[in-house]
Subunit: 531 residues, 2 copies
């Protein structure tokens, strides 16, 4: 097919080989196709990319960490140099506002994340070196020595992009080649990022095939991409159905699959908080629910509100916000269809519409925010269906009566990324909070008090993860260095290996002052040296 | 069925309910059934055990760590108090020698492991507390809040027993209830351990259903035991076929599965080492290959020997040891059958028998050690079949010619627990070793120099794990505290949670002096206190 955009395969941008089809981006506000045509890669091209990644895996694992760090830093610099153009492209393809979202928030977060990964590489904080001199054993995390495949989501064209986001930075920091399967809703943004990455890779003197980029693959190509032993691991951010289909293929081949798939992020409003600041909470909730048209993994999709006068007043205020809200634009026609289907599923399961409405028929992917409600008893009778994720500016309020019912709701929750409690500042809700926390704790990755879940700081104490089905493993975060890096690492133990044959980080001498756990104590000194 | 031994379900020893069948242990030396009849648990009993474990999961997650540590220590004390009886039972059921193996090596290792887990609980070393005051985030590992199911193997009746070994200690240390599915080849040993565990649990004031014990389950009961979301994680040590069948069920339900399944533990003998000490190496290799009748996960099953005069001399010496070796006893008739089938598969794939023979027909599960050999070229032509694991005193020698072929062999290896290099003491093999290590490193969990792989120290720098198919995840060890504990933990982040609602380990004050990563620095002080 003529005129298709180039893919980044085997170290170079090149015309697609035997593409399985073509597609374009769309302007979400109008529904019109925009930009050039991009290829859908076929099985052959995918297999070639995997082979190219396998071929450079040894060289990348052996690369000087400083080169890896220089690449990550250089890539961040390159993104900043083209920040305005990138923000304009991403806005055109996603409908997300340039300012502040794309240019002032998401892009700096993305470059900050790349630089934090570079810092973790230089500090070796991800490698967790442990030395046991009595046993003659030394251990650290090291590269998988195989390609990592990253699937990016639709909702963060920069910070979770398969060729620029946290999974990408993490896999590269651990010195693994990456095959980035970017999201087809923002191909031009991804391509531009890929070009910057490729240039930075060459400038750092790393193998050119260490980063490859495909926009979209035919269905039959998923097997070779995730379901064979040549693959070291898969990072996926996206919807549950697609994630589980890929996970099944990876699982069958013994490939670790890190999927962040779905979450409704329950928020519990306790009595005192509602009494003291119900109006402000209504505003805060509405703003969080509609941020980015509600297309956040951490969108507050479930709100537990007591049947009290303060609860009623809160709901009345929230309903006013939803009723007054203008239409918002989603990323895609599919997204609009899925949101409508999820709302229908919730209504069919017994929820009713409390506020908000429908956008008038018009071109583009416009919707209006919606607030649904259901009784706690009805929720508890059908918790699976009433935990259907509605990806967009839609939340379900569960009306509760009494602490026992609230606790039953907590126990009925699936695995989620987050749970939130709002409590009175004077501590009078704290007994209720203390009773709820142990119930919520094993069901979520991040437990939040007095703020909405939509903010995700890039911090070593973050967990952007959570129990299944929110993600595929309860012990890992996809955001926050150095933890996110460890997903793409193997545990490497060395048993009586002589000093000269050890990796530098585990030798007796410690000239860079790396922090190591030596015979049970953290130390920056050499082994045998005075501490 | 009358006269069946009791199971430990729902907090008490009780007669089995609707067992699906019965079985007995056997004396491996005679093949005679010994001891009482034990039940095969049916689906109903398994479901009851899961429900009982789920019911105590909240209480166990909330338990004082000191109670958990006291249980682990008390259990170790109880095992020591019955050490002679336990060793006698285990010897009768497994044929492993009482001394030194069971009484002087494996039993102390098991109690040491329980005490190391207790120490990790008291020190919080497994919880990895991280505090980011600027971001308002704090994180640590915590209990899964769900049952952990542990499957024990046939080859370590104490140290890997589902009710006493590393998986058990790890899951309990992380404050999860355990359902122990012990190995049916040593039911009486396991029952006695279970009785000691149960008494220690009650003495520590922990929920009595926190430890349950089943001996064997019917095939249809595997689904409820590992393949439902109520289960927090599965720890499995055993053969590959059984492990992969359970893994598939766990994977489909999103349950983390930690399986240690198979390994042939390649050993590379470099030229100088063979020249300098070939005779000693032949003895060392033979001893390791036949230790415990070769029934070690880390048995040296593959030996790469160069076609040099020193290599020939080594093989001649090794062959003498194998030819002179008396018969050894395996654990079971199945084990003997599987070993014979594996040898047949290797012979069919082109290996030839170099030394050793067959045991005369007699009662019991006797075999004689065997040394097989194959050319490197033949191995490289059919690496999958020639990496068939022969679980027993059997090794395959691969005859290599030149460094390039040795490196090709390394690249053809599947994921293994270990790889070993023997090199000359004067360093003249070190260039060859340095070229091999990067190829072996991503393919194994533990890289060993100048000693056989059969020793597995319980150390924080151990990795008893490795890439698939040796285990199901390249980043975790099943031996060594605190790493082994983290398999059974969730990552718990707290976002702006007020001090009083935080778990004690993450509060500002740090009265126990736990080691925490506070704003990038390890500290035993309180937050805000002088370091």
């Amino acid at each position: 097919m003529a005129g298709l955009q180039q893919v980044l395969v085997a170290g170079a941008w090149r015309d697609p080989v035997e593409p399985a089809g073509r597609f374009q981006a769309h302007d979400p506000a109008t529904g019109q196709a925009i930009g050039p045509a991009f290829p859908i890669s076929g099985r052959g091209e995918v297999e070639e990319a995997v082979a190219a990644a396998v071929a450079v895996a040894e060289a990348l694992a052996a690369a000087e960490p400083e080169r890896i760090a220089a690449f990550l830093d250089g890539y961040a610099d390159g993104i900043e140099a083209e920040a305005d153009a990138l923000a304009a492209l991403a806005h055109a393809e996603t409908g997300l506002p340039v300012a502040p979202r794309l240019r002032q928030v998401e892009l700096p977060r993305t470059t900050g994340q790349l630089r934090q990964a570079a810092h973790a590489v230089r500090q070796w904080s991800w490698a967790h070196p442990v030395i046991d001199t009595a046993a003659g054993l030394r251990a650290m995390y090291g590269p998988l020595g195989k390609p990592v495949v990253v699937f990016g989501p639709n909702n963060f064209p920069f910070a979770f992009n398969a060729v620029a986001g946290s999974d990408f930075a993490s896999a590269i920091a651990a010195r693994n080649p990456v095959i980035a399967k970017v999201h087809p809703l923002h191909p031009a943004t991804s391509q531009r990022l890929g070009r910057i990455a490729h240039a930075a890779l060459r400038a750092a003197g790393l193998p050119a095939a260490a980063v490859q980029l495909l926009y979209r693959i035919e269905h039959e190509a998923a097997g070779p991409l995730v379901g064979q032993r040549a693959i070291g691991a898969v990072g996926f951010t996206g919807g549950r159905a697609g994630g589980l289909a890929l996970k099944a293929q990876a699982d069958a081949a013994g490939v670790p699959f890190y999927g962040e798939m779905s979450s409704i992020n329950p928020v519990f409003l306790l009595d005192g908080a509602l009494e003291d600041r119900g109006q402000a909470l209504a505003q805060e909730f509405f703003a969080s629910c509609t941020l980015g048209s509600g297309q956040f993994c951490t969108n507050p999709g479930l709100l537990v509100v007591p049947r009290t006068p303060a609860g009623e007043a809160f709901l009345a205020a929230a309903a006013q916000h939803f009723d007054a809200a203008p239409a918002q634009v989603l990323f895609s026609a599919d997204g609009k269809r899925h949101l409508a289907a999820a709302v229908q599923a919730l209504l069919a399961a017994g929820a009713r519409q409390l506020a908000g409405g429908d956008a008038p028929e018009q071109p583009g992917y416009w919707v209006r925010p919606k607030l649904l409600a259901v009784d706690a008893a009805a929720f508890l009778a059908d918790p699976d269906r009433l935990q259907t994720e509605a990806f967009g500016p839609v939340s379900l309020v569960v009306r509760s009566a009494g602490a026992a019912q609230v606790q039953a709701l907590a126990r009925a929750l699936e695995g989620n990324l987050t749970a939130t409690l709002y409590r009175a500042a004077d501590g009078r809700d704290d007994a209720a909070a203390a009773a709820l926390i142990p119930l919520l704790r094993p069901r979520v990755g991040r437990l939040i008090v007095d703020r909405m879940p939509t903010g995700v700081a890039v911090s070593p104490a973050m967990n952007h993860g959570g129990p299944y089905p929110a993600t595929s493993h309860p012990g890992f975060t996809s955001v926050g260095m150095p933890g996110a890096i460890r997903r793409f690492a193997g545990l490497h133990s060395y048993d009586h290996v002589p000093d000269a044959l050890l990796p530098p980080l585990l030798r007796d001498a410690n000239p860079t002052g790396a922090r190591r756990l030596v015979d049970g104590r953290w130390s920056t000194a050499g082994v045998g040296a005075a501490a």
